[in-house]
């Protein structure tokens, strides 16, 4: 039986809309120092391996992995990069530990979005160069297409998507890590300038800078460390069809299959009952509803009703994105999944301060790699 694995330390570098005073290296150092203090580890002696998530085009430097060791305490140590979301890296860390090859692994992800002067052009670079890019549409047109089909097949409404925006921006007001908290009305969201109809301007998560570092450890060493463990009991990830002309529009199949893997591993049969809360992808408002259904937290077509009935509010039976999500906190590129995990860890430890939920034992974090991908990750975290 492979060892159990826990997150024993978490740290972050302040989430902001811009960070002109700090280099990405200094941001990473700040997050790492906090995570190591939380876990009670010395990276120069105790850590067996370091895993970062980054995408060269966002960073503006190819083979970016070469630039990460120093500021994590990983110089001349095993280091590698996953060009995926932070939850991909956490799964790698857990598996590395379960092989017996490592006992303590550090995972890092950051966004220095404000360094990118042409973000939509970089985004466009992820699109197929031969039969998609030449059309010349803004990359977010894919979100408009996806939202329209999702609303059409699921029966959820445009107004319910606006409710997601109102909920998450309101939640963000109480979260010290959130940049975009605001009191908005349904009319504000629906009356915002149209962007990629049915998607309006306020339905789109705005970018932010920020960094996260996590220390992951084997059960055999957890007791020797200072950090309060949160156990990783399930994870899964999945990528669907990339073809924009024939993918399964209207359903987040990747999230459903990633969740199935994670649920099986964690012994979850009824996610709504077996889990207490979730931090899930809401890069665009409709994605929260689409992902709720894909994660089997409700039946197809019922996510909007769940929201209207208050079930997913912080005070509801199953709070979703109490942190404010990406809409409220800001989108953090590859670090987005790590931010969600960070929020789940704080909740399970009872350290979430003004946004603390009562009596939570088991939570889920889910990420999507944003447009144009059909890639998603799911992780299950537990207190005991």
């Amino acid at each position: 039986m492979p060892e159990r694995v826990a997150i024993v330390g978490v740290g972050y570098s302040d989430v902001r809309s811009t960070t002109p005073g700090l280099s990405y290296k200094e941001m990473m150092y700040e997050a790492a120092v906090r995570a190591y203090a939380d876990a009670g580890v010395n990276p120069r002696k105790d850590v067996d391996s370091f895993i970062c998530v980054s995408e060269d085009f966002w960073e503006g430097t190819s083979i970016f992995d070469e630039y990460v060791p120093d500021q994590l305490g990983g110089a001349l140590r095993p280091v590698h990069t996953v060009t995926g979301d932070g939850i991909h890296a956490l799964a790698c860390a857990a598996m590395l530990i379960r092989t017996g090859r490592a006992r303590i692994v550090v995972v890092e992800g950051h966004s220095k979005h404000s360094d990118i002067r042409t973000p939509h052009h970089i985004h466009n670079f992820a699109f197929d160069p031969i039969y998609h890019r030449p059309l010349g549409a803004h990359p977010y047109h894919l979100a408009g297409l996806e939202m329209n089909r999702f609303l059409h097949v699921s029966g959820n409404t445009r107004e319910q998507c606006a409710l997601v925006v109102r909920k998450n921006l309101t939640n963000a007001l109480l979260n010290p890590r959130a940049v975009y908290g605001a009191e908005v009305s349904l009319e504000d969201v629906l009356g915002a300038p149209p962007a990629f109809t049915p998607l309006g301007e306020l339905d789109i998560a705005r970018p932010a800078d920020g960094g996260f570092v996590m220390v992951v450890a084997a059960e055999s060493v957890v007791d020797d460390l200072a950090g309060e463990p949160v156990w990783i009991t399930g994870y899964g990830w999945c990528t669907g069809a990339s073809a924009v002309d024939s993918r399964q529009w209207g359903e987040a199949v990747y999230a459903r299959l990633a969740a199935e893997q994670a649920y099986r591993m964690a012994g979850i049969t009824n996610p709504f009952q077996d889990l207490d809360f979730a931090e899930i992808d809401d890069s665009f408002s409709y994605k929260e509803l689409e992902h709720l259904e894909a994660l089997r937290l409700c039946r197809p077509g019922e996510a909007g009703t769940l929201l209207e009935e208050g079930v997913t509010l912080p005070s509801g039976e199953f709070p979703v994105n109490v942190s404010g999500g990406s809409l409220g906190v800001g989108h953090l590129l590859e670090a987005t999944g790590l931010h969600r995990v960070y929020e789940v860890v704080l909740q399970l430890r009872g350290q979430a301060g003004p946004i603390q939920l009562a009596e939570v034992e088991r939570g889920l974090a889910q990420s999507w790699r944003n447009l144009p991908t059909t890639t998603g990750c799911v992780i299950i975290l537990e207190r005991s």
Binding site: P20, Y24, N42, R44, G73, D115, R117, H121
Partner: protein
């Protein structure tokens, strides 16, 4: 041609075939622009270059003087302790004689990139820059060199504020 093969098989393509659309390809020129925040350490380093000086950071845990400066010591994993000016003289650690430019144009006057261990910084620390006022055949590992700066009006807070390093 060889004894056995009088004519090589295949269809030759010229750049004209691509330009005139005889062969179909798709072009895309990425618009990738960045403006990196230099941060605390490198921000100060660049400001001092504008003043015609090289600045480093001392780590009081290991005693090393780190150049270029950084706010953390990668060996000790602690914050570095103080700013230290170092000299603009040093010793060639290694060098290369580049006869070919990046676009494969052969150079009459080769470029001379070199790693220079800067006086005042810890051993093995310094700057990767260019050598000048020296014939390629005269460059040696261990050669003593000094920075040749642009005039104060020309300096802009970049590593190119040093034109090159010359022998002393």
């Amino acid at each position: 041609m060889t004894v056995r093969i009088k004519e090589w098989p295949g269809t030759a393509l010229s750049s004209k075939d691509f330009e005139t659309g005889r062969v179909l390809t798709v072009h895309h020129k990425p618009k990738a622009e960045y403006r990196w925040d230099a941060g605390v350490a490198i921000g100060r380093y660049l400001r001092e270059l504008k003043e015609g000086r090289l600045i480093a950071r001392r780590c009081n845990a290991c005693g090393r003087i780190l150049l270029p400066p950084r706010m953390f010591c990668e060996e000790c994993f602690v914050p570095t302790s103080e700013w230290v000016f170092v000299k603009d003289t040093g010793t060639v650690n290694t060098f290369s004689i580049c006869h070919v430019r990046w676009d494969m144009v052969r150079l009459k006057d080769p470029q001379l990139p070199a790693v220079i261990n800067v006086d005042g910084a810890s051993p093995g620390m310094g700057i990767l820059h260019l050598l000048g006022e020296v014939r390629p055949e005269d460059v040696r590992v261990g050669m003593r060199v000094q920075a040749v700066w642009k005039s104060p009006e020309e300096r802009e807070g970049a590593i190119t504020d040093i034109k090159y390093w010359k022998p002393i």
